[in-house]
Symmetry: C2
Subunit: 270 residues, 2 copies
C-alpha cells in the first residue's frame, strides 16, 4: 500500500518509442459502512483511511464531534482485513439522530469535480459494457497538436486560472465539441451530453482530450460513450489505467510538444 | 451567465497591497430533477447545462441512449426560468425501468475529487454553523513559505505528477498534519479527520493549505472544522469566495514566492 503503483508504459519522445516502468498515482475505492450498512464509496489514494472516513463523515455532518464516534475498523475478508472496506460505528445517542436525519435526505449532490458515476460499481460496468472495438487510429503529429487545438476553441480558458476543459475530436483533428467547467468531470459530461442529445453516440471514431488528470471516472464516462481514445495533458491514475486496459481504450497522458506516455492499448497511435 | 465572475480582491506583491478587480471561475449548484423530483445537485460552472444534465444522466446509466430522453427544461421561478434548476423527463418505457433500478440502489459513491458534502444545501450549512470568529493572524512571510513547508513534509508528492496535498499548520508555521491523495477533497478530509480522531477540533488557531483550486467544498469543510484561514497555490471559485465571506474565513489564492491574492477577510494577514 502506498500512493504510487508501478506501471509499464510506452514513452514516446519525437520518433522514439520506449517501453519503461513508470509510477502512477494509486486510486482505489474505499467503502465506508455505517453500522455494517454501505454508506458511501470514496475513490481515493490508499493511506490514512481511518482519517479519511472520519473526515468524510464529519463533513457530511454524520459525525459532529469526536464524541459521536464509536469505532472505525477494517472489515474482515476471511482471515485478512479487507483493506478497502471500513466499518464505522456511532455512539448510541448519535446513531438515533443520524437514522432520523438520513431518512429525511431526499437526494444526493455531486461536487464540482465530478459526477456520481462511481455509484455504479466497476462490476456493474463490466457486466453492462463490451470493450470498445474501434479500429480507428490517430497519428502522433495529430495527437500532440490536440492541446493547441483545444486551447484555440476555448477563448476563455485560463482567463481565471480555474477552469478545466474537455474536447472531442475526430481522427483528422476536427473539433466536434468542447466545454469548460470548474470540474473536469462536468466538462466531459457536457461534451458527451451534447453528442447524446444530437444522437451521435457511440463515439467510436473520436478522441476525448482533457486538461488535468485522468481518473477512473473519466475513463468510465468514455467507456459508456464508446470512445476508443482518451488523452490528457497530465497523469493517469492506477485505476484509470486498469479500466482502460479492460475497456479496450487507448489511454495517453502527459501530451506536451513532441512527447507523451501511452498507458494502455498503444496500437491506435500510428 | 458566463464562466467568470468579477471579484474585488487584494493583490499582494512583496510589500505592496493593492485592491483590484479580478476574475474568478463561476461555480453554482445545478439541481437536476427527474420528472419533477430532485435527483442530484451538481456543483458546476454555468453554461451548456442541458448537455451537462444529459451527460450526467448518461454516465449514471439513467439515460442509455438518446431514445430514452423525453425533455430537458428549465423550471420556472415565477415568470422567469430558474437558471439553476433543470427538469428532465424520460420516455414512458424507460421511466418504468429507472424507477425499478433506483429502488435497488442502496448507497452512493463519491469520486476521486471529493466528498458528498454538497449534499447538504448551503442553507443547511448557514443554519447549522456560526461564522468562524478566530482572532489569530498569519504573517505574510509565513504564508508565502507554506508551499515549501508542505512540499518538505511530502517526500512522495509529485513523484507521480498525480497527487494533491493538504497541510494543516499553526500560525507559527508548524505542520500539524499533512495528507496526499488523488482527490484534493480527500486530502482535506484526511487532515481534518485525523484532528477529529485526536479530539483537536475546532481548529481555530490553524491554517489549511491546499494544492490546486479552492472550490466551495474545500471552504465548507474548513468551516465545519472552524478553520479561520484557507490558502492555496491556485484559483478560488466564485462560490468558495462567497461562502468564505459569509463564514468569516480568510481566503487566499495563488500563493507563490512573494505574492498572493486575498479573496475574503484580509484582516488576518499581518
Amino acid at each position: 500500500m502506498g500512493p504510487a503503483r508501478s506501471v509499464e508504459i510506452f514513452r514516446v519522445r519525437g520518433s522514439s518509442r520506449e517501453r519503461v516502468v513508470d509510477h502512477a498515482v494509486a486510486e482505489e475505492p474505499l467503502e465506508v459502512r455505517l453500522h455494517g450498512r454501505p454508506f458511501a464509496t470514496i475513490m481515493r489514494t490508499p493511506g490514512d483511511d481511518r482519517s479519511l472516513a472520519a473526515g468524510f463523515l464529519f463533513a457530511e455532518r454524520i459525525l459532529r464531534t469526536a464524541d459521536d464516534l464509536g469505532t472505525i475498523e477494517h472489515c474482515r475478508d476471511g482471515d485478512a482485513p479487507a483493506q478497502n472496506v471500513l466499518n464505522v460505528t456511532l455512539t448510541e445517542d448519535r446513531r438515533e439522530g443520524v437514522d432520523a436525519a438520513l431518512a429525511d435526505r431526499r437526494h444526493v449532490t455531486s461536487n464540482a469535480s465530478g459526477g456520481l458515476c462511481g455509484r455504479l460499481a466497476i462490476e456493474t460496468l463490466r457486466a453492462e459494457l463490451d470493450p470498445v472495438a474501434s479500429q480507428y487510429g490517430l497519428a502522433v503529429a495529430l495527437l500532440t497538436s490536440l492541446p493547441i487545438r483545444l486551447r484555440k476553441a476555448q477563448p476563455l480558458f485560463d482567463a481565471t486560472g480555474g477552469l478545466h476543459a474537455a474536447g472531442l475530436f475526430d481522427m483528422t483533428g476536427r473539433l466536434l465539441a468542447a466545454a469548460e467547467d470548474i470540474g473536469r468531470h462536468n466538462a466531459v459530461d457536457k461534451v458527451i451530453g451534447r453528442m447524446l442529445i444530437e444522437e451521435r453516440l457511440p463515439l467510436s471514431s473520436n478522441v476525448l482530450f482533457v486538461s488535468g488528470r485522468t481518473s477512473f471516472e473519466i475513463v468510465q464516462k468514455a467507456w459508456c460513450a464508446g470512445i476508443p481514445l482518451v488523452a490528457s495533458v497530465s497523469a493517469a491514475s492506477s485505476l484509470a489505467i486498469e479500466v482502460a486496459e479492460e475497456a479496450g481504450i487507448t489511454l495517453v497522458g502527459f501530451v506536451r510538444d513532441e512527447a507523451f506516455n501511452i498507458y494502455a492499448h498503444p496500437g491506435r497511435i500510428l
